[in-house]
């Protein structure tokens, strides 16, 4: 009996102090993660999910764009990855970055939005020929105006808030890069988004929807954190409200660690290929927790960010090889998201405040 009490007391003390051994040094993570991304080959993700390759490229490009404000040596890899991704899609077609069930798609807001945002980041930071960006922006405009609700699809009859917010952020970024003005179109899109895609039970944006605007799924962690960050460019107040709602219903923390659920209690959904498995009892989801890093960083939620990073160091199995760092429990996409979370800020600020210093042509 006495041994049991000693064990319980020792376990309690240990669990309460464990986080001290996993406290993050955010700045110390950046350079090793960036080195890992400079060497990463996102094409290896294709055999698991072609979407992951495009997303890995996007988050890496955005991370390099942010890093380039202090370190111009990232401009070359930013330019390379943006141009290469654009060329891959032009060579192989829109289905190259889609899952097999999208083989009949002739257009995808997911593909054009992510490539456009990459190209806009390149244009803002490194300049160059704007033709490919202008073409992607025109594709987004066409898809927006052809959609009955101004909410285009990523797959036939399958729209995603994730992809819509990325595409509109790309429009905003391209305006900063090219001197164009999509504010009227963006305002109409925002109006439709709020009217059709806000879940009345939670107040959060749903994750996916049909062409007629009816939801396919409810609010989802692996969508809402990223969507809130993208919305910062076009409606900061609405973005902050969405983050606060997500934080309240999906964010969890205990004993100095933090994590995120995929589904709010009001809307329990299943597992999908993007969200990954959920650990029962604590309701911790890998995909949602990974993107919660981005939300916490973008909305300067320092305590939650440090808790998430502590969890990452505890449970994602960091592997340091030479000067590079990666997290073994994830993949190169997850590492790209983590890096982007740690360095985001300068690019969004330059777009919002129209003070980007890069050449316009």
């Amino acid at each position: 009996m006495r041994s049991l009490l000693v064990f319980a007391a020792a376990l309690a003390v240990w669990l309460c102090t464990l986080h001290l051994f996993f406290r993050p040094d955010r700045a110390a993570l950046v350079q090793p993660l960036a080195n890992g991304q400079l060497a990463a080959d996102h094409s290896g993700l294709r055999r698991y999910n072609p979407e992951w390759e495009l997303m890995g490229r996007l988050f890496t490009a955005l991370a390099f764009a942010n890093l380039s404000f202090e370190h111009p040596e990232y401009l070359a890899p930013l330019t390379r990855i943006a141009n290469e991704t654009d060329a891959l899609e032009r060579q192989h077609g829109v289905t190259y970055f889609l899952l097999p069930y999208g083989k009949h798609a002739t257009q995808s807001l997911f593909v054009d939005g992510e490539i456009a945002l990459m190209l806009a980041a390149r244009q803002l930071r490194a300049g160059g020929d704007p033709a490919s960006l202008e073409d992607r922006v025109a594709r987004i405009e066409r898809q927006l105006t052809a959609s009955p609700l101004l909410l285009p699809e990523s797959y036939p009859d399958e729209g995603w808030v994730f992809c819509n917010t990325v595409a509109v952020a790309a429009l905003k970024a391209s305006d900063a890069a090219l001197g164009t003005d999509h504010s009227e179109l963006i305002a109409r899109w925002l109006q439709s988004l709020k009217l059709h895609l806000v879940d009345p039970r939670t107040g959060m944006l749903v994750s996916s929807f049909h062409r007629d605007g009816s939801p396919r799924d409810g609010p989802e962690g692996s969508t809402i954190w990223l969507a809130a960050h993208m919305l910062q460019l076009v409606d900061p107040q609405f973005a902050r409200e969405q983050y606060a709602l997500a934080r309240a219903s999906l964010g969890h923390s205990a004993l100095g660690f933090a994590w995120a659920a995929e589904w709010p209690a009001a809307w329990q959904g299943g597992m999908d290929i993007d969200s990954g498995p959920t650990i029962p009892l604590v309701d911790a989801n890998a995909g949602s927790s990974g993107l919660a890093l981005l939300g916490a960083a973008a909305f300067e939620d320092a305590a939650y960010l440090d808790g998430l990073l502590s969890s990452l160091r505890l449970a994602a199995f960091p592997v340091q090889r030479g000067a590079s760092l990666r997290f073994a429990a994830g993949n190169s996409l997850a590492d790209a998201v983590t890096l982007y979370s740690l360095v985001q800020g300068p690019l969004w600020n330059c777009i919002k405040e129209s003070r980007c210093s890069a050449p316009r042509s």
Binding site: R2, S3, V6, F7, A10, L11, W14, L15, L18, L45, R47, Y48, I273, G276, P277, A286, L314, F317, V319, A328, A329, G330, N331, A334
Partner: protein, 78 residues
Amino acid sequence: MLRSAFVMVAAFAVLSLLGGRDAVSVLSGTVSTAGGALLGLSYALAWFGALLLAPPLLVTGLFRAYRGSQKPASPPTH
């Protein structure tokens, strides 16, 4: 208690030497072989066992050993 703690740490050390840390990518669905998946899951379990349970087990085992050493020796029987 002490033995359990050492077994946990030893299992974690062996799985580390077998390359289990790299195989935990099974947690994100990016391990292609069944053997790799098994190794990765075993490594993850061993890590959490060694990290969460081994230290309190060690403390409890040391407490019991100390208590045992404080007991008076039994009087000799004739």
